[in-house]
Symmetry: C2
Subunit: 170 residues, 2 copies
DNA sequence: CAATACATGATATGAAATAACATGACAAGT
DNA sequence: ACTTGTCATGTTATTTCATATCATGTATTG
């Protein structure tokens, strides 16, 4: 058995922000932007890392580490968990990929290059994931944190619900 | 080995919102409130479920399912994963306990009875967890969701950082 | 070219979660 | 009382996610 999360409605052009778009261009642009940042910052976008990033950009939805691993194996890369996790660590550390805690899975960043604290909308039916901006530290939470003396370093914001497509079908 | 998450600074009186408080009273009140809700709503707070809830209230921090399981075993309950997961499911479903996605762990709700969409502050050093309110659907994220046609059903908001205690020590 | 950082490969294991099936406890309907 | 249905629990096995560790390789860079 291959470890793809769910049957998953495979469409040629997947949603970003749940919208149809020119996917090929979108992948290429993102990749180029990551390459640029790597070379200016002296980061090493090695073959495994690049491959993982490409896969995630291509899919445009959250993939589990083992789904990624399967694909790496298929392409002749190492096929043991650490291979995938190390590549993912690198990509996450540098903001090229985000981890979706709710799903224990990973998505390529939709706005690479921009510093951001991302928020995600996750469709519980088709697993599509869209990235948005958030500013949680600015709102009620920020106030609570200041009141409590808690220093926020990082936030996870994930909304679960139904994407437009799935809403329609229901 | 027993599966307690980390060495964990055991203190007699643990933080709620990172503050000292009369823990015994706090546990009792919470438990009473849950019992009340169960009886008015016809929910069955069985021995396992009650025990798990007590443990979480007592600890006042996030415990993993297997740490819970260890304690259940010690008390003579079933010791297989489903036992813990089922009790946790019940408690989470009914809002008596929350899952911290970031930690794959569980905490007792600090405001049982009030309907709420909780937000958490998690200390990355000592694993203390404080619960606050959030209204993520009201802010930037809500706007993005409406724009995208995404229907939010539930949100996860978790802030990671340093609690007052750990900040001091640093 | 040697020293050193960093990246990968491979083995093993730990930790989190669920599937599937059997048993028990209890209330409602006949 | 007995059967049926529902819900909770127990148990086995397996899947999925993640990391520790050690050995090996490959770039820089001094």
């Amino acid at each position: 058995m291959t470890s793809d999360a769910r049957p998953a409605p495979v469409k040629d052009s997947a949603p970003v922000g749940f919208q149809e778009h020119d996917h090929q261009t979108c992948v290429e642009t993102a990749l180029a932007s990551v390459e640029a940042r790597c070379s200016t910052e002296g980061l090493r976008l090695t073959p495994v890392r690049r491959k993982v990033l490409e896969m995630l950009l291509q899919e445009h939805r959250a993939l589990g580490a083992y789904a990624i691993l399967d694909r790496l194996r298929a392409e002749g890369f190492g096929s043991q968990p650490p291979v995938a996790y190390r590549a993912l660590d690198f990509l996450v550390q540098n903001g090229f990929v985000h981890k979706i805690e709710r799903l224990n899975a990973f998505v390529a960043c939709s706005h690479p290059g921009q510093s951001h604290s991302p928020a995600f909308m996750i469709c519980r039916k088709c697993d599509a994931v869209a990235e948005a901006q958030s500013a949680p530290a600015k709102g009620v939470l920020g106030a609570a944190a200041r009141a409590a003396g808690f220093e926020i370093e990082r936030t996870v914001v994930e909304a679960e619900g139904l994407c437009p497509d799935c809403t329609e079908k229901a």
